[in-house]
């Protein structure tokens, strides 16, 4: 009887956790922000944005999170070099951009051509796209992309 009493609340707890576990969110341990907050911060700190376009239930996002974003070197580079933004490209969540424009996350996905997920886009502070990665990424892909962006920014500031 006691065991039954224990099993029921555990099952309820598991049911509540399941959807959360199945979601593909931003990778754990990274300071990802909503896009509008990230843009504001990017303008204030004059740092480029790294935007992760994911989607609820995106298996390839989860794979990239588990296999590439867990790497300490990736984490160090992306935290140091970029303002990080996460966008659920199917969500109706409303954002207000620094321009005053109100936009939904899914409209933002369309605007940045994130019609599949995951897509990782590097933007400057004005929102202009600099470079993007499509699909599952490995550790070396993310490090190489960072090196390219950093080299291009360095060249632009020291022509």
């Amino acid at each position: 009887m006691k065991r039954r009493l224990l099993i029921y609340p555990l099952a309820v707890l598991l049911m509540q956790l399941l959807p959360v576990m199945a979601q593909a969110d931003a990778p754990e341990g990274y300071p990802f922000l909503p896009f509008d907050k990230a843009m504001e911060k990017s303008l204030t700190e004059n740092k480029p944005l790294f935007v992760y376009f994911g989607r609820y239930g995106c298996g390839y996002c989860e794979k990239t999170n588990k296999e590439a974003f867990v790497d300490p070197e990736v984490k160090r580079r992306y935290q140091d070099h970029y303002i990080l933004a996460y966008v659920d490209a199917e969500s109706g969540k409303r954002l207000r951009l620094p321009s005053g424009e109100r936009i939904q996350e899914r409209e933002l996905g369309t605007r940045y051509n994130a019609l599949v997920t995951p897509i990782f886009t590097f933007l400057d502070s004005s929102g202009k796209s600099l470079y993007r990665l499509v699909g599952v990424q490995r550790i070396e892909d993310l490090i190489e992309a960072d090196e390219r962006i950093q080299a291009a920014l360095s060249q632009a500031s020291n022509p």
């Binding site: 199945a22 979601q23 989607r55 609820y56 298996g59 321009s99």
Partner: protein, 249 residues
Amino acid sequence: MKRWLAALLLASLSLDPAVAQSWNFEQAIDVSSELPEGAFQHLDASGRRSIAVGENTVGVVWEDDRDGTPRVYFAYKDFTASQFSQALRISGADEAYEPGLVALSEQRYALVWEENGGIWIRLLSIQGGVELGPAQRLDPAESAQGSVVADGDNLLVLRSERDGSFTRIRLQTLRANGLVTSRQTDCPVDAEAPTDDQLYPTAAWVQGRLVVAWEDRRPKHTIIMTATQQESGKCLFTPPRRTSESSIS
């Protein structure tokens, strides 16, 4: 035999006026030209029901923030008129989003939108000048993404309503009396309790029955589900069926 069939098909296609004639687009007309610089307009009705055609008139509903707050506006024009009416504010004091509309008889329109965490409905008449009915909230529960269709003077309003941890598609039927609505029935489209979010409903009449479609996240990603009204006028639907491809993950 196959060649004969192909030739017959081609011949029948060439006789079809819809195939033979290309589309003709007239010059675009501004629906609202009164916006100050820096204001943003949105056509984001659930099911994309932002435009409706009535008796010799066309109505458009949208949201913009011309006064700094997102609000709902409506404009209309006669088929033959060269410009739209002045924008008419429909929503109340709070931020308002995602309006949709449907045309009714006697030059009336029914408009729905989201405001203050719920779905609102308002009727208006453009017969001999604009007359606005009262804004009425469908239900006190938290809901969004309203969509409206009509069956004569019966209005069928869909919404995505918070139901515990998830959102659930509900249908409310209302009777339009002049510019006032009275609630008839209210039921979930899927009789089973949701196991994940149900979002962005829309509906269409198919052979006299209402077919409701929505985004559904029950397999832990987004699919499209549909359910059909079992009997005209009844708030009872067939078990929902997946209509999007099963291979997409």
